[in-house]
């Protein structure tokens, strides 16, 4: 990473689609080098918020407010993005998919290839380097996507439920990898899985309601990834489940 990861300030943002308000006056801070998780009921606007930060608001969205970093660079140049699906391209091998950001810049150097190979081996894809995405399992594909994100070497990483499609064990493994590899980056992870949040987060927010509002953050302090046997894990899990049940609004 070229510099210390910046803090991202999201200040008084309003977002509406076709005049229907998603959220109003929403403010949030992604602390420098910390892992922030955002939870909330589906359809509440979590993805919209992440896409707003990533500058991916579609044409029918109206946006007001300010999003900026505490360094002087524009935020768009400092982010990398992981979507709900792995977005691997079927005509490229795992290695070439990992290198896609360099291809799109028109410049793949030997060092880039070496670094990509190293990272792919590190995440356990030694035998898959030259395989096509169609030949890989969901977990392997998502690991390629993670390597692609890391190779962009951006200080801010935005992730939109990237591990939600994986089975429990694969997800557990990839979370461990992510915690290690995304260290010291400013990360925003959207998830619907409270356990994922507790394993990885320094700060947890819940977005709920219509228009959506943000809860006060829950802070976790022990080192990551947290083990499910960790006492802090268990306490927070209970708290988070209660908070989420409340946020979903329908008591059974």
């Amino acid at each position: 990473m070229p510099m210390q990861a910046p803090t991202v300030y999201i200040q008084n943002v309003n977002l509406a689609y076709n005049n229907e308000t998603v959220f109003k006056n929403l403010s949030m801070t992604l602390e420098s080098g910390k892992f922030t998780c955002l939870l909330g009921p589906s359809g509440v606007g979590k993805t919209s918020l992440l896409r707003l930060i990533a500058n991916l608001v579609p044409n029918n969205g109206q946006f007001l407010g300010k999003i900026h970093c505490d360094n002087s660079f524009p935020i768009q140049q400092q982010i990398s993005y992981m979507a709900q699906t792995d977005l691997l391209m079927p005509w490229l091998t795992a290695l070439d998919n990992a290198l896609v950001s360099f291809r799109l810049k028109g410049n793949v150097t030997k060092e880039d290839i070496l670094k990509a190979t190293e990272l792919l081996i590190k995440v356990g894809l030694k035998d898959a380097l030259n395989k096509y995405p169609q030949e890989l399992s969901g977990g392997m594909r998502q690991r390629v996507a993670l390597v692609r994100t890391l190779l962009q070497n951006k200080p801010i990483v935005l992730m939109d439920e990237p591990f939600s499609g994986l089975d429990a064990i694969t997800r557990f493994q990839i979370q461990t990898l992510a915690a290690d590899l995304l260290k010291n980056r400013t990360v925003l992870l959207i998830t619907h899985d409270p356990i994922e949040a507790i394993r990885l987060a320094d700060k947890v927010y819940i977005l709920s309601g219509q228009p959506a509002v943000l809860s006060s953050p829950m802070s976790l302090i022990t080192s990551k990834p947290r083990d499910p046997g960790d006492p802090e894990f268990i306490t927070h899990q209970a708290d988070l489940f209660h908070a989420l049940t409340q946020a979903s609004g329908n008591s059974l």
């Binding site: 979507a83 699906t85 977005l87 391209m89 079927p90 005509w91 950001s101 799109l104 962009q152 935005l158």
Partner: protein, 251 residues
């Protein structure tokens, strides 16, 4: 293997039906010759048929290649310069409303009795399916890939080259398959209208002289060539664009 058996049963079934009709209705050979006499003519006239097949094959393949290239070029131009498509697309649609058969004589006058006019007719026939299939593919790139490229701050033409074109190739492939079916028709139509060589010319001549067996022999040659061409193009496309199934699954 299943396909082979089904094909064989279908083939021999039709031959038997054909022979049955000829025997049952006592059809004279100048109306409908039996399969055996057609085969005999095919064998005896093999040299003549082969000689006439050469120009047809050349016209078909050249027309297919040139028409596909032109079709690709038009699609790429329209997709890359979007405002231009508003002008080109109506012209293409209008050009398709003109029946190729009707203007074929004119094209023969313009481009001569030789191969050029047949190639032009073939190009006109298959240009549109290639353009429209490829253009469709270029316009419907998966949004996720484009989003990803945007967050990577990629330039427009690099996104075009590295994402939109490869993502559209499976669509182009289906356009090319349609074009492959059209190509021999284009060449034969051209030969009907005015030519001194080719299987279309041979068919027309044989028809005029009541040599229906020779006409059928030429017809079957065209059918076999068309099937063979389709088969080969299909294999080439599958080898060159192995991610066709993957894209089809997504969309």
């Amino acid at each position: 293997m299943k396909l082979f058996w089904r094909g064989s049963i279908l083939f021999f079934g039709l031959i038997i039906l054909w022979q049955g009709m000829v025997s049952f209705f006592q059809l004279p050979p100048y109306i409908l010759p039996g399969p055996w006499s057609v085969f005999k003519t095919w064998y005896l006239q093999a040299n003549l048929i082969a000689m006439e097949a050469i120009p047809t094959i050349i016209e078909t393949i050249l027309g297919l290649i040139l028409g596909s290239l032109l079709g690709c070029l038009a699609a790429l131009t329209m997709a890359f310069f979007r405002p231009l498509s508003l002008w080109i697309l109506p012209i293409l649609v209008i050009s398709q409303a003109i029946p190729t058969f009707a203007i074929a004589p004119l094209l023969v006058i313009w481009f001569g009795y030789g191969m050029a006019s047949k190639i032009v007719i073939t190009i006109i026939m298959l240009f549109f399916p290639v353009t429209s299939a490829f253009y469709d593919g270029l316009r419907h790139t998966e949004q996720g890939w484009l989003d990803l490229a945007k967050t990577m701050q990629a330039k427009k033409w690099r996104v075009f080259w590295h994402i939109r074109i490869p993502a559209a190739l499976p669509f182009l492939a289906s356009g090319l398959r349609v074009a492959t079916v059209f190509a021999p028709i284009g060449a034969v139509v051209g030969e009907w209208v005015g030519a001194s060589k080719g299987l279309g010319f041979l068919m027309l001549n044989a028809n005029a002289r009541m040599q229906i067996d020779l006409m059928f022999a030429a017809l079957f040659t065209i059918v076999i060539f068309s099937l063979l061409l389709y088969f080969i193009v299909n294999i080439i496309l599958r080898l060159l664009i192995p991610w066709q199934k993957e894209i089809a699954k997504n969309s």
